[in-house]
């Protein structure tokens, strides 16, 4: 811990918020984070649509833990530690697939897709004390879902997922409401890339609309070139054409909630989509209005929201819907995974439009994300002076604290840091 017991200076009277830059460079803090943040919070594992049929599985690393995210023969979605109970080897080396059994290649112990230990070669060599029933693949302490988003928690004493997610559920619902049947699916194709920066910088970046005009000026030009009208910002402190707010969702979760100007596949047409798309997009909107009522349909179609579920799940419902998660790989490196999400019943043309819109902004070849990556890497490089230049300034909009907090203020960033600071201050 730092000397005064806090990594932030949070002076609400003066309206000053400062962050101790050691949080992005200290190995010791990273080790502590693995226990106090990733070992305590609900961490996103995967989406049910990634494992549609019994036996479908994907393997991935979640919070540093190799896991198998799998649907068992009975249809139950499970999260199994990908570690053999015998001598500890990874039991599934495939990235994804469909399997009834996972067999360890070392000595051949094999497990059912529900994690139970199914077979041990020449089992007769063990005594009666050897209990196969007790040697299934281990699992995280808790594993639960909300609307097909599955999370794990390593802490036996964790609160229920529903309590943890709290008000973020309303914002997940807004995303899921795009689908007439209430079912969204992860689309094929994963974007995975590293950023040479501390993982928490991605949290900030994912919701920080202050950076848009400078970091993404070439994207804004592209939007203009495509025929999108970019009104100059009108309100005090605003940096974008339309108004957007930063909203506290409790428990360290927060979201931006912006009046759309950038087009939305469901269902706000912009010239980029082409005239031919208009009738279908009108039909999509009409379906929303009929199903949800005019007001809710407007919420779904005419706002875009970047939601952060503490600590590291980002759901951006903007130019397209992206699920993004990221884990530290050392203090100055993170591994990012991003997926596209869409309604299961989407037509082929609407699906193509969604994917195309995704690539206009997001991802390692997008027109915006590479510049975010650059900005975060520049921050990490600059932080090498942290010992003599200790504090990051994060006070923007503190005068708005009791009123309307803009998306371009740093209100929501402060929410993250207050929660992070509180968890790091706990004895673990």
């Amino acid at each position: 811990m730092p000397a005064n017991g806090s990594y932030v200076i949070d002076d609400r009277e003066k309206g000053i918020f400062l962050l101790d830059r050691s949080v992005h460079v200290s190995e010791e803090i990273l080790r502590e984070e693995m226990r106090k943040i990733f070992g305590k919070c609900w961490i996103y594992v995967g989406h049910a649509s990634e494992v549609k049929k019994p036996g479908d599985f994907v393997t991935r690393k979640v919070a540093g833990r190799p896991v198998i995210f799998v649907r068992d023969q009975k249809g139950q979605v499970r999260c199994l530690f990908n570690t053999c109970r015998h001598r500890g080897s990874i039991v599934s080396t495939e990235r994804c697939g469909n399997a009834r059994r996972f067999m360890c290649v070392y000595h051949g112990w094999s497990y059912g897709n529900d994690g139970s230990l199914a077979r041990v070669p020449s089992e007769e060599a063990y005594t009666e004390a050897f209990d196969k029933g007790d040697l299934g693949l281990k699992t995280p302490a808790h594993f639960d879902s909300y609307k097909d988003f599955w999370f794990m928690n390593l802490d036996p004493d964790a609160p229920p997922l529903g309590d943890y997610l709290g008000k973020t559920r309303d914002y997940i619902d807004l995303v899921v409401d795009q689908s007439p049947s209430g079912q969204m699916e992860v689309l094929p194709g994963t974007q995975e890339y590293d950023v040479a920066a501390n993982w928490k910088l991605m949290v900030e970046n994912s919701v920080d609309d202050y950076h848009l005009p400078t970091t993404h000026s070439t994207w804004l030009n592209f939007m203009r070139n495509s025929g999108v009208v970019m009104e100059p910002p009108k309100g005090a402190g605003m940096v974008l054409p339309t108004k957007g707010l930063a909203i506290d969702l409790g428990n360290g979760h927060f979201t931006t909630d912006n009046v759309n100007f950038r087009g939305r596949p469901v269902a706000a047409w912009i010239p980029l989509y082409g005239d031919a798309a208009k009738p279908e997009m009108e039909a999509i909107r009409a379906e929303l209005v009929e199903r949800l009522g005019a007001e809710r349909a407007k919420r779904v179609a005419d706002t875009n929201r970047n939601l952060v579920i503490f600590p590291n799940l980002v759901i951006n419902d903007g130019s397209s819907v992206t699920i993004r998660t990221f884990f530290p790989n050392g203090v100055d490196k993170m591994h990012v995974t991003a997926w596209a999400l869409g309604p299961v019943e989407e037509s082929e043309s609407a699906r193509a439009r969604r994917l195309d819109a995704f690539l206009t902004f997001y991802g390692p070849g997008g027109f915006a994300t590479p510049d975010d990556v650059e900005a975060l890497e520049m921050v990490q490089k600059g932080l090498a002076n942290w010992q003599d230049d200790r504090w990051s300034e994060m006070s923007r909009g503190m005068g708005h604290e009791d009123g309307e907090q803009l998306n371009s203020d740093e209100f929501h960033l402060r929410l993250f840091w207050r929660k992070w600071n509180a968890l790091m201050g706990e004895q673990a």
Binding site: T218, W339, P370, M378
Partner: protein
């Protein structure tokens, strides 16, 4: 017309590599047909269709033009300063040809250096659909397949790969 030879398409691919390495993107753009496409599928779905699967890049002709505007803009931070690129193209093979088009496969290693650091090697293969035009070609489709399981430490594809 006589059949296209491997040497002819090799010359073309080497010339293209030189233009891309040296950021001569206006000259490269002049090689494209009016309906050209540029695609990089996701590392985990190389055979995917960009209308159904999330790609890294899926540009139609207009988007390629906009991409060139973007990467040449000094405010494209990911490429300011510009990457130093050096690609080796090899294993060039003609997969198919008819009177109008030639489909060409090649492998490549593209070394990228930036910010006084080594940034890494992009390793993969390309598939060009070339339109025959006189004694040269124009590019109708350029598809790049990355061999790595993920982009990993390579980070972005902010240049013309």
């Amino acid at each position: 017309m006589s059949p296209v030879t491997r040497a002819e398409v090799e010359d073309f691919l080497y010339m293209e590599a030189d233009l891309l390495d040296n950021w001569k993107l206006a000259e490269w753009e002049a090689l494209l047909t009016d309906d050209a496409g540029y695609y990089i599928p996701a590392n985990d779905d190389p055979t995917g269709d960009h209308r159904k699967s999330l790609f890294i890049i899926a540009d139609d002709r207009e988007r390629i033009h906009q991409r060139i505007i973007r990467v040449m803009d000094p405010n494209c931070h990911a490429e300011a300063p510009k990457s130093h690129l050096s690609r080796i193209v090899g294993n060039v093979r003609i997969l198919a040809q008819d009177a109008d088009t030639v489909t060409v496969a090649a492998t490549f290693v593209c070394h990228r250096y930036r910010r006084y650091e080594r940034m890494g090697e992009y390793v993969g293969s390309t598939r060009h659909i070339l339109k025959r035009e006189g004694d040269s070609f124009r590019i109708k489709e350029r598809r790049v397949f990355l061999k790595s399981h993920e982009l990993g430490s390579l980070g972005s594809v902010s240049f013309m790969l």
